[in-house]
């Protein structure tokens, strides 16, 4: 029941933007707001999935959140994939050639693409069957790359700005908080063991 609500809530932003696209509420250049919205949604879902562990560790009463971490992470991948498809379709008109030249020539596109590939690998290795096959150790190693993905996403976000945006600073601050908490946590627990 709660799982269903999590998925419905996660799909709501997608429905929201698609309705606006179809009713022509996005203005003369619908590609721009659509692609921007999907990219921002990917960042928000990625940060939400990264917030689960710190929340559960500091407030044990939140431990049920752990049950939905994978779902939130998969939605982050879904939004990132739609963001990339939207860019290819609505910006580049589904031209293969333009997509390839963008990937060769634009560092910020490359950075975003690498982040997407990481999320793809994490999504493919997220089912329990795959997890068991890989073994906990290797699976955990692979999934630590989510930290790389979120940092690349922040670089990609900053690089495409034409001028300064306050939202970006907010996302970077949250990223720093979530990753910083992990560094502190491991540092403390390793000291505790000595």
């Amino acid at each position: 029941m709660i799982r269903l609500l999590v998925h419905l809530g996660s799909a709501a932003p997608l429905v929201f933007i698609l309705v606006q696209l179809l009713t022509r509420m996005l203005g003369p250049d619908p590609g721009e707001p659509l692609v921007r919205f999907l990219g921002e949604a990917a960042v928000v879902f990625l940060l939400m999935s990264l917030a689960v562990t710190p929340l559960v560790k500091t407030r044990p009463s939140f431990k049920r959140l752990m049950l939905y971490r994978r779902a939130v992470g998969l939605w982050a991948f879904a939004y990132a994939l739609l963001h990339a498809l939207g860019f290819w379709g609505l910006y580049l008109g589904w031209y293969w050639g333009d997509l390839v030249s963008e990937l060769v020539e634009r560092p910020y596109i490359v950075v975003g693409f690498i982040a997407l590939l990481i999320l793809l690998v994490l999504a493919l290795t997220s089912p329990k069957v795959v997890m068991r096959k890989l073994g906990g150790r290797r699976w955990r190693f692979a999934h630590r790359f989510v930290y790389v993905a979120v940092l690349l996403a922040m670089v990609h976000y900053f690089w495409q700005l034409r001028s300064f945006a306050g939202e970006w600073l907010v996302y970077v601050a949250i990223t720093a908080l979530l990753l910083g908490w992990r560094v502190m946590y491991h540092w403390r627990s390793s000291k505790g063991r000595v």
Partner: protein, 307 residues
């Protein structure tokens, strides 16, 4: 012989009433120019018409870059009404025979107004076709008489924090006022239009009322809006976008499909408005298709370096 396009006949349906009232006052101002050419739509002589379809009035007036009112494309349409454009005066300064502060009413009389349908190509790789109303900047030059040592013309936009809420934003890195510039030859080119109207009516505030430039062979940011100062000088000015990102925006900023912006290709453009599957992608033309009129201005200039 004058064909009426579909957009011309349907245009009245999308024009709000207050804009119509504005238009009437505009027609009064431009009355002298209108009298001579009864046949042309709106009563203006016409030249330089592209036969591509103009963007709907609504698209051209709700999708704007005018950072003084905010950084979103929808901000200018929401907040530009907070700017008062009447009365308005423009300072003519620097190396010129007739410097001074001139009222808009006087400046309107310095040239014959005409309608021109130009392609507007934004550096962000989108474009729209827009019918402007104005007279060549060359007519103004004739009137104020720049000295022969003047090599550049510098333009400034109004900068008033009280009327322009984008300037009050803490996140803005721009050193106001917005500054743009042209060489004196570019300023005198017949395509460079000192613009007072669009779609046959006075400029809406978000489009740069009451007076702006339109330079169709350059990226849109060169077509400075809401001008309060025109200065003649012998030194190339540092324009606002050059100050912000010198590696991305140069002084010339000619439309050029072969020179990429460092972060995106300029080879193609999205012709707006677009539908639910995105905008039509078309090839960008050298000098935005106005090479015949302007290419000679850049003979011997390396356009890869002088982007």
């Amino acid at each position: 012989m004058i064909k009426r396009h579909a957009w011309q006949t349907s245009e009245s349906q999308v024009t709000p009433e207050d804009v119509y009232k504005q238009r009437r006052s505009f027609l009064k101002l431009g009355g002298a120019a209108a009298a001579g050419s009864i046949l042309a739509p709106y009563g203006y002589a016409q030249s330089w018409r592209t036969d591509e379809d103009p963007a709907p009035f609504e698209a051209a007036t709700t999708y704007n870059n005018f950072y003084e009112f905010g950084m979103d494309k929808t901000d200018p349409a929401k907040y530009a009404h907070e700017m008062s454009v009447d009365p308005w005066s423009v300072k003519i300064e620097g190396m010129v025979e007739k410097p001074g502060s001139y009222n808009l009413e006087d400046i309107l009389k310095w040239g014959d107004q005409e309608e021109r349908i130009y392609r507007l190509r934004c550096v962000e790789a989108w474009s729209m076709v827009i019918p402007w109303v104005g007279y060549p900047l060359a007519s103004l030059l004739k009137q104020v008489k720049p000295l022969s040592k003047a090599k550049y013309v510098v333009f400034k936009t109004l900068a008033d924090r009280k009327q322009m809420r984008g300037m009050r934003s803490r996140f803005s890195l721009i050193d106001w006022p917005y500054i743009e510039g042209l060489t004196i030859e570019e300023a005198a080119n017949p395509l460079t239009l000192l613009t007072f109207g669009m779609y046959g009516q006075t400029l809406p505030n978000q489009n740069g009322a009451p007076v702006r430039l339109v330079i169709p062979w350059k990226y849109g940011f060169k077509s400075i809006k809401s001008i309060v100062s025109i200065e003649f000088t012998n030194r190339q000015p540092r324009t606002t976008w050059q100050q912000l990102q010198p590696k991305e925006y140069g002084f010339y900023a000619n439309v050029n499909p072969e020179v990429s912006h460092p972060r995106w290709s300029q080879a193609r453009e999205r012709r707006l408005p677009g539908g639910i599957f995105g905008a039509e992608r078309i090839d960008t033309q050298m000098f935005n298709g106005y090479g015949e009129q302007v290419a000679h201005l850049y003979k011997g200039l390396d356009l890869t370096k002088n982007y």
